[in-house]
């Protein structure tokens, strides 16, 4: 390794974020190099003889041919250890808070502060003792990272097949670089401290993949009810601008019942990151009441930050997610937006003068996208205790002109299992979340139905199926209305329309910024479905006996249904009882009236 450092290459050519260099014999693909007098970090992305091509993670203005290129011999890696949560990094894991302290509010080049504090003490509690046999992934002890993640596992490195602990420290306070254990293997002695490095483009190893069977509860009615995502699942949110992709991502990162959230703001707006940074510390975790930032890691590489670092940002986020998965936690990764990442890929590819594929994207776009989503999943992680962990990935896609036939959307749809199609027309009607219920789908629905039915309510899947059918019928009836006018509909068809409207406006719509409605518990979700379905069943009986729809619609109870979103999760049980009673009574008296006539 020492020899590598002494090898210095020379810049030949600079084109935007791409630098060509020579005298680089022996360098390997994706090796990190330091470019120019400013020591800018870059990565080798092409080798030909002693010439290499480097993508530079910082603005390259001022670099000139003739300046040196230093090799490091290592691939681009992230630092893993306690203290990652509640932080904000850029695409190559530079801590933005420290960067701000060191160089002010504009990001300066060539600065690489420590990712994790070297002086902060962590309270380490060993779980293993001397002479215990251990294997890769076994947890040697825990540190209390923060109140939301009290058990941050310090794990046996992945390269240890089998070993025996020859030394382990007592419970106490240590800094990350302190040695906490020593493991003797067949051929060497491995010293373990609390940090590790891991190359971002290489998936962290697992024992085996397991079947997906648990839903990721998001507190969003349309998702939990109609298009659920599983823990360890993958979902895409494509939508034109203004359809609410980012708000959706924010909602999911706030409310999804994962242990750790990694939010990658990839080539999006600076002010949106500012919003997350200001809002999350104030938001409370629904189960513990602690600030949500404690379980969150933010990766911010906003649109005017260097493009190569944007390309790296989603891998950086994924590696951090895998690290917490390896401790046995459920992690959710939000990437907003993968289109910006793909554009970074395209830009670099075009600077390399590669043969373009569809719409100028490189031919390997599709394989890169599938590789990324493949890192999601539910698995038994390394370690002898059979822990399970998962990484769920939710990627926003920003198709140009909201046209879903473009390459990034299409390549994504080939690999993800859940498709939440955001609809510009719905967004313009201020119907949020603007998920189109006719085109969206979830391939986990069938698998998860059994979970909902056995663990939650036996008629859950029947209710969601009813909703989907009604919405489908509405679409067909709309066709008729468009052709011949609303008068052509029978009373029972009008009831279907009315029911569908209630489903849309009172159930599917959800106010992200309303305190009571932003998070909808499964229980409230279920009871809302119940009430609506009850309304429909009862109304159908009335219509069949000849009661006109207008009479049903003017009942207080049917009108009050529309206020149910605004009833809090806690008060909903009571509301439900009252509401059902009111519906039953009013409808019964309508029935009586008609019978008297």
């Amino acid at each position: 390794m020492q020899k590598l450092e002494s090898q210095v290459g020379v810049i030949e050519k600079v084109v935007g974020p791409v630098v060509f260099a020579k005298n680089m014999t022996g360098s390997s693909m994706y090796e990190v190099v330091k470019v120019g007098k400013l020591n800018l970090i870059g990565e080798i992305i092409k080798i030909s003889g002693d010439h290499v091509v480097i993508q530079v993670y910082e603005e390259t203005t001022g670099l000139a041919p003739g300046e040196p290129v230093f090799r490091t011999g290592a691939p681009l890696s992230v630092t893993l250890g306690p203290g990652l949560l509640n932080q904000i990094f850029d695409g190559i894991q530079r801590p933005l808070e420290i960067l701000e302290r060191e160089s002010g509010f504009f990001i300066k080049r060539g600065k690489y502060p420590d990712v994790l504090s070297k002086s902060k003490k962590w309270h380490f509690i060993p779980t293993k003792k001397i002479n215990d046999y251990v294997q890769a992934g076994d947890i040697l002890g825990f540190v209390n990272e923060n109140p939301l993640l009290e058990k941050h596992g310090i794990m046996v490195p992945t390269n240890v097949k089998m070993g025996v602990i020859s030394k382990i420290v007592d419970e106490g306070d240590y800094v990350i670089e302190d040695e906490v254990a020593e493991i003797k293997t067949d051929d060497k002695l491995i010293k373990v401290n609390m940090i590790t490095k891991w190359p971002i483009r290489k998936p962290r190893p697992i024992k085996r993949r397991i079947d997906i069977f648990l839903p990721l509860i998001t507190g969003q009615r349309i998702i939990d009810g109609l298009f659920p995502i599983a823990k360890g699942g993958t979902a895409a949110i494509p939508g034109g601008f203004g359809t609410g992709k980012t708000v959706m991502q924010h909602q999911l990162s706030q409310w999804a019942d994962a242990k750790v959230i990694v939010y990658v703001g990839c080539g999006e707006r600076g002010n949106e990151m500012a919003e997350v940074l200001e809002r999350f510390p104030q938001l409370k975790d629904p189960s513990s009441g602690l600030p949500l930032m404690y379980r969150t890691i933010l990766i911010a590489n906003v649109s005017n930050m260097p493009i190569a670092a944007r390309e790296a940002s989603i891998y950086t986020g994924m590696t951090l997610a895998e690290y917490y998965r390896d401790m046995g936690y459920d992690v959710a990764l939000m990437a907003d937006s993968t289109s910006r990442w793909a554009e970074a890929l395209r830009e670099i590819s075009s600077r390399l003068e590669e043969m373009p594929g569809e719409e100028g994207y490189p031919a390997y776009l599709s394989s890169r996208i599938s590789e990324f989503y493949e890192r999601a999943g539910c698995c038994e992680v390394l370690g002898s205790d059979g822990r399970y962990g998962s990484v769920s990935v939710i990627g926003a896609v920003s198709p140009p002109g909201a046209d879903f036939s473009e390459p990034v959307t299409q390549s994504t749809l080939r690999v993800v299992k859940v498709f939440w199609a955001l609809d510009t027309a719905l967004a313009q009607k201020r119907h949020f979340p603007s998920i189109n219920w006719l085109t969206s789908y979830s391939l986990y629905k069938d698998d998860l139905n059994s979970w909902f039915d056995t663990n939650f309510a036996s008629d859950w899947s029947a209710l969601t199926k009813e909703f989907m059918q009604i919405l489908q019928q509405e679409e067909e009836l709309n066709e008729i209305v468009r052709l011949v006018g609303p008068d052509a509909l029978s009373e029972s068809q009008k009831l279907v329309m009315e029911y569908a409207k209630k489903i849309r406006e009172d159930y599917l719509m959800q106010h992200a910024y309303s305190l009571t409605d932003s998070y909808c518990s499964l229980k409230k979700n279920y009871k809302m479905m119940k009430l609506l379905s009850y309304y429909y069943t009862k109304s159908k009986e009335l219509i069949n006996s000849g009661v006109p729809l207008s009479k049903i619609s003017s009942l207080k109870s049917t009108r009050d249904l529309s206020r149910m979103q605004m009833v809090s999760n806690e008060e909903f049980d009571q509301f439900y009882i009252k509401m059902e009673e009111l519906l039953r009574m009013e409808m019964a008296s309508l029935m009586e009236e008609i019978n008297l006539e």
């Binding site: 001022g62 041919p65 904000i88 100028g360």
Partner: protein, 467 residues
């Protein structure tokens, strides 16, 4: 802003000229992005920037264009520094051309600092989220798509639509509730006609805005490649004044479509692989380096609010220019041809318009506590009315129910009374909301689903005004 003494290097080894690009051979140690001066036999000093550099060759984009240059006599002077702009608060009230030269005949300005025009990205951690309401006095914006300090909100318009009037009206009227703060307008014109330039100037003069404005003018007959530079000059000035001198700066850039055309021209000359409609694949990133230079910073008093104007080619919102812009900016205000034809000014179509930062900019301490609910309800009623309008076109008005007629009528009234206002009419946000309530009072309370009963009680006018 290099601290090293400037070493200039002269080369006369130009081997090719293609469009706005110049190819210089046998260059050495030329750094990427550096500023270049070109001396030629016609005596005109041209400026350029290095787009690509290697041992053998440097490619230079020439801001003034290459017409009149030849291979033999052109001397290329590399300065070793990025393009920088002298900045000072003395620039306030002054007019510059697209290269930063004073063109108002006034005295020169003594710069306080010289700044790299490309700026640096603001650390996301340092950003303060925009929450201060800016009152533009235009109901369609204040009421339905509120602008806030530090936001970037573009006007999407089309050829022949009155976007300039709207921009000028906003420039005249924009204010916040805290009047003691320092407000400033930076105006960047990119390839607008001399008539338009005169219109803006006159409008600023009349309203007294000119002495708190800085104008950068690149007109239709000025060099097109210079348009790459103009927004950067404007924003560098704005950044200095906002974050060093505590001004609240509103930056109006018109017309961003011309900027993108210039970008495409350079890309084509470099023979790059084109993206959609011939625009380069990096246009999103390039536009972001302009639009993202808006915002507020923790601990700084000033702010930059951006209002870029762009004309959508063929009114097509899916065209790459508005499309990529919409993905970066925090919403958009849509100027609609249909409304314009029906004589409504400002012809702002509130349905596809959007202000992403509205929710934080409105409410009891900022505008009024009923703002969100009123705007939601108006939005709903207008959208309902508009979709009924489409239905009427197919099946005729007779088939509609009474409720439908109500909505149809409300949509009409919304356009005539709420959206429509005079070019010099400045409405306070309270007036705007009151007009909204007047329209809503035509509906039975049961239709006002987006408003809570308590808000209805507090604000709904008791007697229904016949309209």
């Amino acid at each position: 802003m290099s601290k090293h003494p400037t070493i200039t290097k002269d080369f006369s080894t130009v081997t090719a000229i293609s469009g706005p690009l110049l190819f210089v051979q046998k260059t050495q140690n030329i750094s990427y992005g550096e500023y270049v001066e070109l001396l030629s036999s016609d005596g005109v000093l041209r400026r350029g920037q290095v787009l690509e550099t290697s041992f053998e060759m440097a490619i230079i984009q020439v801001f003034e264009g290459t017409s009149g240059l030849n291979l033999k006599d052109t001397v290329v002077r590399f300065t070793g520094e990025p393009i920088s702009l002298p900045v000072s608060s003395d620039a306030i009230g002054r007019t510059f051309d697209g290269s930063g030269k004073i063109i108002d005949g006034g005295p020169p300005i003594i710069p306080k600092e010289k700044l790299d025009v490309n700026g640096s990205p603001i650390n996301p951690k340092s950003r303060a989220y925009p929450t201060d309401f800016i009152q533009t006095g235009i109901s369609a914006i204040d009421g339905m798509n509120t602008l806030s300090r530090g936001q970037k909100l573009p006007l999407f318009s089309g050829n022949g639509l009155p976007h300039n009037d709207i921009a000028a009206q906003i420039a005249r009227q924009a204010k916040t509730k805290r009047t003691e703060e320092k407000f400033l307008l930076v105006f960047a014109a990119l390839g607008i006609t001399a008539d338009e330039a005169r219109f803006f100037r006159k409008s600023f003069e009349e309203s007294g805005t000119l002495n708190r404005s800085i104008l950068f003018m690149n007109l239709a007959d000025d060099p097109p490649i210079e348009r790459i530079l103009v927004p950067r000059l404007a924003l560098t000035t704005a950044e200095y004044l906002a974050f060093e001198e505590d001004y609240h700066v509103l930056v109006i850039i018109t017309d961003m479509t011309n900027y993108c055309e210039a970008l495409r021209e350079i890309s084509a000359a470099k023979e790059e692989v084109p993206g959609r409609r011939g625009y380069p694949g990096y246009m999103y990133t390039d536009l972001a380096t302009i639009y993202e230079r808006a915002g507020r910073i923790h601990g700084k008093k000033g702010s930059i609010t951006q209002m870029p104007i762009l004309t959508m080619p063929n009114d097509d919102i899916t065209h790459p220019i508005p499309d990529l812009t919409g993905y970066i900016t925090e919403g958009q205000i849509i100027v609609d041809r249909g409304l314009h034809r029906r004589g409504i000014y400002p012809p702002i179509d509130v349905l596809p318009s959007l202000s992403r930062l509205m929710k934080e900019a409105i409410g009891s301490n900022k505008t009024r506590d009923d703002h969100r609910e009123v705007s939601d309800q108006l939005y709903y009623t207008y959208a309902e009315g508009r979709s009924l309008r489409d239905l009427v076109a197919v099946i005729g008005e007779e088939a509609l129910s009474e409720r439908d007629h109500l909505y149809l009528h409300a949509a009409e009234m919304f356009e005539r009374e709420f959206v429509s206002q005079g070019r010099y009419e400045e409405r306070s946000v309270e007036e705007t909301l009151d007009i909204g309530w007047r329209l809503l009072s035509n509906f039975p309370e049961s239709e006002l689903k987006r408003i809570s009963p308590s808000t209805i009680k507090k604000y709904l006018p008791k007697s229904t005004l016949g309209v």
